[in-house]
Structure formats: structure tokens, C-alpha cells
């Protein structure tokens, strides 16, 4: 971990307009929770929709995608990556520092609103479950999208395909696809801690934890390996 890289990354991330895209989502989440609570409907009807279908399935992956693909991807796009690459730093140090910042920002941007919504409409244990679930899911997503940003020129497009096609469509038709869906892991972990009917998950916690670790490791190692032999091609003539 390198504090200089982390500082530069955080400034680059939070200093861009792109970060404003994160604002509406938490507001929507808490707004819908308030509507659910005041409507008098049973929480089993609106709870899963707000916490899982919106919180863990939309807000968490989209936030992780915006942040994770920018943490290293923007530097690759504008060429400032040479500033980091021409330093005697182990490439793992660069990747881990970037991942740490992406994870922190993603977790803060998703876990806090989720926890707030859970406290309004659910229970304290649900809040804890959602915080831990979104933290672990956020780390897995961040590692995945960070790796994508080193491997492809269009990390956001590829990431969206994963979120939309794999996690939303394929998972509902093919049962086995769940095992490779980060949001299912996040939901399973949140469910096991929160222990409420507001979250229903279909993957076991053990599977979820093991798969999360695999996602994190594969993403981090993949990104490091790719960065090790990263060749500047864009500006060659």
C-alpha cells in the first residue's frame, strides 16, 4: 500500500464531476424506504425490492463500476499512468493502493445509505448485515472492475454487460450463474447477519464467502499481472 498513490487517486476520483453521479442513488434509496415505511404495507412486500433489488443489485454494482473503472482507468485513458509506471514501484503496490481507494469510496457511498435505510425500515442487525455485505461485495466488484480497466479499453461497457446480462438476466434463467454473481454473494452475507425476511438470498453464505475471496484474488492478481507487462500503445507512432 502506498499513501502517495492513494492520496493522488482519491483526489483524482473525488475531484471529478463523475463522482456527482453517485449522489442521486442514496437519496432514491432512503426516499423509497421512507415511502415504504409510511405506506403501511408489510415490509416483506417492499423490503426485498428496496434493499436487494435496488440497494445491492443496482446501487452497489453501479457505484463500484463508476469508481472501480476510474481509479486506474482514467489514468490509462489520459496517459498520466506513465507518471506511476516510470517509478521503481512493485506493480502490486500500485494495484493494491488503487483497489483500497476504490473500495473505500464504494463502501462509504453504498454502506452508509444502506445502513441508514435499514435503520429506518428494518433493524440494527439488518443495518450491520447490509454494511458487511456491501463492504465484501464492494471489494469483489472493485477488484473485478479495476482488473477490467487494465484489460480492456472499455471497462464501463464490459462491466455493464456483466451487471445487466449476467447478474440480472442470466441468473434468473440459469441457476448455476448465481455462483458467479457478486450481488448474490453480497445478499447472502447480508441475509445471514441481518437474519430478516427483508432479504432473500439463494446462495449459501459459505459459497458466497469463498466466491468473494476468489473474485477479489483473481481481480487483484489479474490486474497486477496485466500492469506488469502494460505496454503503452496509444501514443506510439
Amino acid at each position: 500500500m502506498n499513501l502517495t498513490i492513494m492520496g493522488l487517486t482519491a483526489r483524482a476520483l473525488l475531484g471529478r464531476k463523475r463522482v456527482l453521479m453517485l449522489l442521486p442513488m442514496p437519496i432514491l434509496l432512503i426516499g423509497l424506504t421512507l415511502i415504504g415505511v409510511t405506506s403501511g404495507a408489510s415490509d416483506a412486500t417492499w423490503g426485498p425490492v428496496v434493499f436487494v433489488n435496488l440497494g445491492l443489485s443496482v446501487i452497489l454494482p453501479l457505484t463500484a463500476l463508476i469508481i472501480g473503472s476510474s481509479a486506474l482507468g482514467l489514468e490509462i485513458d489520459d496517459g498520466t499512468i506513465t507518471h506511476l509506471l516510470t517509478k521503481p514501484l512493485p506493480r502490486s503496490e500500485i494495484v493494491l493502493s488503487k483497489l483500497a481507494v476504490a473500495w473505500l469510496v464504494t463502501t462509504v457511498a453504498t454502506a452508509i445509505p444502506l445502513a441508514a435505510a435499514a435503520l429506518i425500515g428494518g433493524s440494527g442487525s439488518l443495518a450491520v448485515g447490509l454494511v458487511i455485505g456491501s463492504a465484501i461485495g464492494g471489494l469483489a466488484y472493485s477488484a473485478l472492475f479495476l482488473a477490467l480497466s487494465v484489460m480492456t479499453k472499455r471497462p464501463v461497457a464490459v462491466g455493464l454487460v456483466y451487471i445487466m446480462l449476467w447478474e440480472n438476466i442470466l441468473v434468473s434463467y440459469v441457476d448455476g450463474a448465481r455462483v458467479f454473481s457478486v450481488r448474490q454473494h453480497a445478499a447472502a452475507i447480508a441475509d445471514s447477519i441481518g437474519n430478516t425476511q427483508l432479504i432473500n438470498s439463494s446462495v449459501s453464505v459459505t459459497t458466497a464467502l469463498i466466491m468473494s475471496v476468489i473474485f477479489i484474488l483473481v481481480g487483484t492478481i489479474g490486474a497486477t499481472q496485466r500492469l506488469r507487462s502494460f505496454a503503452l500503445t496509444g501514443e506510439a507512432n
Binding site: 493522488l8 483524482a12 503503452l232 507512432n237
Partner: protein, 303 residues
């Protein structure tokens, strides 16, 4: 002293060969890497800076492989052509971050020294995005120098600089060369190379076309046959008298005027005006028809 060596290096992208079997050694002092745009200069510099793998051959800096070897950056600094600077930083923050990333024992000191070398202390607390192109370039040179590298690579460092900034940068590079560093800069402008360096490596279409003392290369360039298109009040008479000149090797009459091949640029251009006056011929156009740098370079490749 650190040398940079390319040994039988080629680099291709798919079917396109960017660098073709180049072998060269760059030692202490200033060396110019000269070539027309698209000749492969940037690829050569990126190969040396370990930002690209050679498809074939070997690139070493001070005896160590440049590719996949981050430790090499302790002795090498690179200033890219692309303005890759995070504009939200001030020059001070940018250079200081470089020093910290190099894990120097005293980053503040190193950053202060580097900014003093490029004389940017006065503007160091302004954001880089507010700088002129020359100032940005200097900030980037300071960041590349902060760890006191023995090898400094610069890609088109004079692009977009005004004459004063250019002179300043030239002085700076010369001073660093005098301290025993290995400095290599690329350029597509012969005059820049001429003013700055004694040694030149000429790259054309990915190949090393010429290498050595610039005076030698300059002579090769000026002594080559030159072509002129001349139109006058009496083309046929002009052609006749020109053919009698020692410095002319061929004359042909074209619809556009007289095409002249001259062996010796200097003698021919001096003789032409005198001859025209003697014969009472009025010259209306004199066009050197092959003065583009590409032609000059391709002539070098042919010899």
C-alpha cells in the same frame, strides 16, 4: 555513467513494423534521435523506458533489461511527448509526489532542488492546468529529474515551446550532459538537433538510417543532389547555359519550367543568379522541389 543499448531490436504491431532491427548504443552526453514523424522515435523511446516490450532483440539500461523491471527507474527519467500531467496538482505537489513515489530519503529537498533546476520555483504553487506549454514541460522535466537519474529520455521536448523556452531547455540539457548524464531527446527538426548535440541517431521508417556526428550527417544532407524547378523569360536558353555548369548534373524542360538537378547546392545557387543576369534572362520562379524532410531522410536511407 550509464549506457542505453538496443541490440537487434524490432517491434511490430500486428502486420505493422514500427521498429526494424535497430542496434545502437547511447552514451553520456546529449544525443538527438532524429527522424520524420511516424518514423518510430516514440516507439524507440518507449522501448528504452520499459513501457513497451521488444518483439525481438534486447533493450538494456546500464546493463539491466528495461522491460518488466521497475527497479530500472531508479536511474532513468522519462519525459513523454503526450502531456501526461494531472492538471489538478500544482507543480510542487506533482514533483513532490514523484519524489515520494521514488521513495527518496528526503522528498521535500529533492523536489525543491528539481524545481530550482528548471527555474519553476516562482510558479510552483499554481495548478499545472494554469501553465503554459513550456512551463508544463519544465514541470514534467523536474518530475523526471527529481531522483537524479543518470539517464534522461525526452520525447519531442521542444514541441510547442517559444524560442526563449527552447533556449532555456537546451541550456538545461547541455548542463545535465556536462554532469555526466546520458541524455537522449527526439525531434523531427534537424536544426534543433544541430544546436544541441554532437551525436545523432537518425531513424527513418523504423530503421536506423544514420548514426554518429551531426556534422557528418549534415554534410551528407547538403551534398546530396538537389532538384529545382525554375521558370524564366527564356527557359530553353537558361537550360543551355545551366548545362554548361559544373554544379549541374542534369536539365530537362517540363511544361512547368526547367527541371535542374544540381550536385552542389551552394555553388549552384550562387551561380544561377549571375548566369541569368549575364544572359538577360528574367527568373520568375525558383522552387526547390525536394526539400521536404522526408526526402532528405529517404536520401540518407539510400546512401
Amino acid at each position: 555513467m550509464t549506457t542505453v543499448e538496443l541490440n537487434g531490436v524490432s517491434r511490430w504491431y500486428g502486420n505493422v513494423v514500427a521498429v526494424n532491427d535497430v542496434t545502437l548504443t547511447i552514451g553520456t552526453g546529449v544525443t538527438g534521435l532524429l527522424g520524420p514523424n511516424g518514423a518510430g522515435k516514440t516507439t524507440v523511446l518507449h522501448l528504452m523506458a520499459g513501457l513497451m516490450s521488444p518483439s525481438q532483440g534486447e533493450v538494456t539500461v546500464g546493463g539491466e533489461s528495461a522491460w518488466r523491471n521497475p527497479e530500472m527507474y531508479r536511474k532513468l527519467g522519462l519525459v513523454t511527448e503526450r502531456e501526461s500531467v494531472p492538471g489538478f496538482l500544482t507543480a510542487w505537489e506533482f514533483v513532490l509526489s514523484s519524489a515520494k513515489l521514488h521513495k527518496l530519503p528526503n522528498p521535500d529537498d529533492a523536489a525543491r532542488k528539481a524545481l530550482a533546476i528548471v527555474e519553476m520555483q516562482d510558479a510552483q504553487d499554481r495548478r499545472i492546468s494554469t501553465y503554459s506549454k513550456g512551463m508544463r514541460q519544465r514541470a514534467r522535466v523536474a518530475a523526471a529529474l527529481v531522483h537524479d537519474p543518470t539517464v534522461l529520455l525526452l520525447d519531442e521536448p521542444f514541441n510547442g515551446m517559444d524560442p526563449r523556452q527552447r533556449l532555456h531547455m537546451m541550456e538545461l540539457l547541455n548542463r545535465m550532459a556536462d554532469e555526466g548524464r546520458t541524455i537522449l531527446f527526439s525531434s523531427h527538426i534537424l536544426e534543433e538537433v544541430e544546436q544541441l548535440s554532437g551525436t545523432v541517431q537518425v531513424i527513418v521508417a523504423g530503421r536506423l538510417a544514420a548514426s554518429g556526428d551531426y556534422r557528418h550527417i549534415r554534410r551528407l544532407m547538403t551534398n546530396r543532389p538537389h532538384q529545382f524547378t525554375i521558370s524564366s523569360s527564356d527557359d530553353r536558353l537558361l537550360a543551355t547555359v545551366l548545362m554548361g555548369q559544373e554544379s549541374v548534373s542534369g536539365v530537362s524542360i517540363e511544361p512547368t519550367g526547367v527541371q535542374v538537378h544540381a550536385n552542389d547546392y551552394g555553388t549552384f545557387t550562387r551561380a544561377l543568379a549571375k548566369l541569368a543576369k549575364e544572359q538577360n534572362i528574367r527568373l520568375t520562379t525558383i522552387l526547390p522541389s525536394d526539400e521536404s524532410l522526408e526526402k532528405v531522410f529517404s536520401y540518407l536511407v539510400a546512401t
